[in-house]
Symmetry: C2
Subunit: 113 residues, 2 copies
Amino acid sequence: MQSTFAVLAEPNRRAILGFLASAEQSVGAIERHLRMPQPTVSKHLRVLRDAGFVEATVDAQRRLYRLRPGRLQELDTWLAQFRRFWSARVDLLERHLDRMRPEAKGRKGKRKK
Amino acid sequence: MQSTFAVLAEPNRRAILGFLASAEQSVGAIERHLRMPQPTVSKHLRVLRDAGFVEATVDAQRRLYRLRPGRLQELDTWLAQFRRFWSARVDLLERHLDRMRPEAKGRKGKRKK
DNA sequence: ACTATATATGCCTTGACGGGTATATTCTTC
DNA sequence: GAAGAATATACCCGTCAAGGCATATATAGT
């Protein structure tokens, strides 16, 4: 199984997830909406399903795919460690980090670049 | 330039970003902390820098790398479209989505799988 | 049973990416 | 200016993933 990011690295897969964010969709609906060949859609859905990003139910010959938010929530969790860099109180933190820089720099000015 | 996700797909790069979340670091510090060969570190830093995830300043022969939160913030923004799937009030939304499913299914039960 | 529709899978080729090693570059110190 | 430290880059190679196309599978309708 691939990593969350590896799966999301593929633009078509992100497009599919974005589309599924509106409502569950059949393979054909995705194919038409995103203008991609059917085998391509099926293959990407396979990856997404194996990775736990989507799930499918059978509807006659159709398969209806819908989001499973778990993996995206993981991503949200991973991001948490960086949020402080852009969410309020950033100034204080950054000043703090600046102070943590190795002080071993009693150097004179470098010229270029 | 690569996509945000393509860059983050590499585990070593995520590790570097995670390390830089604590404080800015020199290449050597990263090399030792993450136990990876120096060329590997430099190459990943190159990718991260080109993609705008980090920036560097010169300190004698050293380069001090630090986070640039912009790209991660983009990621946060992208995630926003999915948050409703796991943050409060999810029940209501899901019920709503269920109602949006194509009603063209007056089918009898399928047996297996 | 046959045909049409919807979806999945297999094969093949191609291109991008990461690791490893060697080497180049930059700056400092003596 | 020669040597050493810190970092960057070039090259080669193996791997892996994505697209294109053909084909297989499943289900419905007649």
